[in-house]
């Protein structure tokens, strides 16, 4: 049973560029949440997708956007990258929003 799969594992981008990160949820899960984890910090909630709609959003600017596809996979897009966007981006999936979350191993984004 595949867990949560994230791609790519590592990424280096230049300031001002745009990036797309991808997440495939665990089999049987329909809800995807994204978190940003800066170095030495705990993860911060970005947003959550369920039934292809953004259901909740954390305190992140509009440069952060997402999408959920009919197969429940999800993308996180970040526009106009800043140095401060350098972080580990974690995807977590669950069945509905009320059950336990399974996390992926994350995408390490470095903005130079």
């Amino acid at each position: 049973d595949a867990g949560v799969t994230q791609s790519p594992t590592h990424l280096i981008k230049t300031r001002g560029q745009q990036v797309t990160l991808r997440c495939s949820p665990k089999s049987g899960h329909d809800t995807v949440s994204w978190y940003q984890q800066a170095l030495g910090q705990g993860p911060q909630f970005i947003f959550q997708y369920y039934e292809e709609e953004e259901r909740q959003r954390g305190n992140f600017p509009d440069r952060f956007s997402g999408h959920q596809f009919p197969n429940y996979s999800s993308e996180l897009n970040v526009n106009a990258l800043l140095l401060g966007d350098s972080a580990l981006y974690l995807c977590a999936s669950s069945r509905r929003a009320l059950y336990g979350y399974t996390f992926g191993s994350g995408t390490r984004l470095t903005v130079v």
Binding site: S33, Y35, Q56, G58, L90
Partner: protein, 117 residues
Amino acid sequence: AQTVTQSQPEMSVQEAETVTLSCTYDTSESDYYLFWYKQPPSRQMILVIRQEAYKQQNATENRFSVNFQKAAKSFSLKISDSQLGDAAMYFCAYRSANPGTASKLTFGTGTRLQVTL
């Protein structure tokens, strides 16, 4: 807004000994869930243990147990018979049980646990 505080940036324990990691939280809700997650160098967050706030009994999973003090808003993790594989970052997390509001996880800043021989 809920907050989670972990006041121990680093802890060290000898193999086979017991260690306790501390966590406090702040919330105005009465029904919620608390979690301890382990994050090894592989980066994946792994659920260690979960506690429902309405349950008075402390959760236990093999060598891992919690001391949940609802009135004090305290949720500590005890690791017994520590093993080298327990070395990792440990995060305490909170989640509301209200389906109409946030189901996001709110994390603390983490405690790095070192296990020595």
